[in-house]
């Protein structure tokens, strides 16, 4: 499903495309799924669960918050680079596949925004609401540029910019820049 969508887009993908790629019969498909949308949503749930599990595993490691943020962003970018069809499905096709998919996409965004908003605990000041949502929206714009251009293999190169973007609202420019410079030096060596 994910591969057919990545190639043709959700709208143009048919059940015939899916069964041909999966090497199963039409009957098998309909024994498992009601229709194309049902199959798409099942695939979406599986991909989103793995994505979140990867990011959480990186984020929940012990260590200072900026290091954990960096590890989580790194894990998310690696996921996209290694699984371009899945990244496209989660972040682009998910918006073309009806209200069930839209709801799932938004849930995914909310979860990542909630990670980012843990930064509120480390912020030296009270921040207005929805900063986490802005952080995720900003990061998504950069990620989508690469996905749409077919350059998913370059996603990991976004790490320094995304780290700065995620840390700066909470820790301020100076500290976010210090972390980002340290990261750039580490990557260069």
């Amino acid at each position: 499903m994910a591969y057919a969508c990545a190639e043709k887009g959700y709208l143009a993908t048919t059940v015939a495309d899916v069964v041909r790629r999966a090497g199963v019969s039409r009957a098998t498909f309909y024994a498992l799924f009601r229709d194309k949308e049902d199959c798409f949503l099942a695939a979406y749930d599986a991909i989103a669960a793995e994505f979140i599990a990867d990011a959480l595993a990186a984020y929940r490691r012990p260590g200072p918050w900026p290091a954990r943020v960096r590890a989580a962003i790194e894990a998310m970018l690696a996921f996209g680079a290694e699984r371009p069809a899945h990244a496209r499905m989660a972040l682009i096709e998910g918006l073309a596949a009806g209200s069930g998919a839209l709801e799932r996409y938004q849930q995914l965004v909310r979860m990542v925004a909630a990670f980012a908003d843990e930064g509120q605990e480390y912020a030296a000041r009270d921040l207005p609401p929805r900063i986490g949502r802005a952080v995720v929206g900003g990061g998504l714009a950069l990620v989508r540029v690469e996905i749409v251009a077919g350059r998913t293999e370059r996603l990991p190169a976004l790490l320094p910019d995304l780290l700065y973007t995620t840390l700066a609202p909470y820790l301020g420019h100076e500290e976010a820049m210090r972390e980002t410079r340290a990261l750039r030096e580490e990557l260069a060596s």
Binding site: G9, Y10, L11, A12, I92, E93, L95, A96, A97, G98, L102, Q106, V109, R125, L127, P128, P129, R130, I131, R133, A134, V135, V136, G137, G138, G139, L140, A141, L142, R144, V145, I147, V148, P160, D161, Y164, T165, A168, P169, G172, H173, M177, T180
Partner: protein, 228 residues
């Protein structure tokens, strides 16, 4: 073209108009119809039948203008985006401090979107899913709005240190917040989130304190007007 648009409702089935005027009005009706249909049903579910039904024109008339739904939508969408960006450019070109112009520009944007919920739904939520060209259209929106914010780098205390992607990130963040509101059907209430948007737009450039001051200003101005 949608002309000035969007909302002007030409009466259907009127006689005695020159042929090119009738054609223009039919075209305008179909362009408005495709936007309304996509806003209501989503791009995927919208058909040529929806467009001609709403516009009250015949199927052959539709195909005189476009080969199919995608081309009709592309034209309508381009017209809306040009209108919106043109509107903001005009607002932004007025003299004044960058921070004030950002606040005013965002106010204008939210007001415009709240006035036209159908267009907001299309431009903010449906756009990325609007067929094969959808993702490219989404990126174009981000790109068209970025220059308004790029200007902030010049007055920012650490402008030369900010990543090259900062303006893109800011626009993506604002788009994300607006997306949630529109997707949840709160388009009419969009002007209420102006203070938060102002903060999110300015903070990366001006820093926290100044962004907070502009946010308070936006809040006070909203409180001062009954419809705010």
């Amino acid at each position: 073209m949608l002309d000035d648009p969007i909302l002007e409702r030409l009466p259907s089935g009127r006689h005695g108009l020159p042929r090119d005027v009738v054609e223009r009005s039919q075209r305008g009706r179909m362009l408005r119809a495709v936007l309304a249909a996509v806003a209501e049903k989503g791009y995927a579910a919208t058909t040529v039948a929806d467009v001609i039904g709403r516009a009250n024109v015949s199927r052959p008339t539709f195909y005189e203008f476009w080969p199919g739904k995608a081309a009709c939508f592309a034209e309508a969408y381009e017209a809306v985006l040009a209108l919106l960006v043109g509107h903001l450019e005009a607002r932004f070109a007025r003299p004044g401090r960058w921070e004030d112009r950002v606040r005013e520009g965002l106010r204008e944007l939210l007001h415009w979107l709240s006035e036209y919920p159908d267009l907001a739904r299309v431009a903010v939520v449906e756009v990325i899913a609007s067929g094969r060209d959808g993702p490219g259209r989404y990126l174009e929106v981000i790109e068209r709005f970025s220059p308004f914010f790029e200007e902030g780098r010049r007055t920012a205390p650490h402008g030369d240190e900010l990543p090259a992607t900062t303006a893109t990130v800011v626009v993506g963040g604002l788009a994300g917040i607006v997306f949630d509101e529109v997707a949840a059907g709160r388009t009419r209430e969009l002007p209420r989130i102006l203070p938060e948007l102002v903060y999110a737009a300015l903070a990366p450039f001006t820093g926290h304190e100044q962004a907070l001051a502009q946010m308070e200003l936006a809040r006070r101005e909203a409180g001062a007007t009954p419809e705010g």
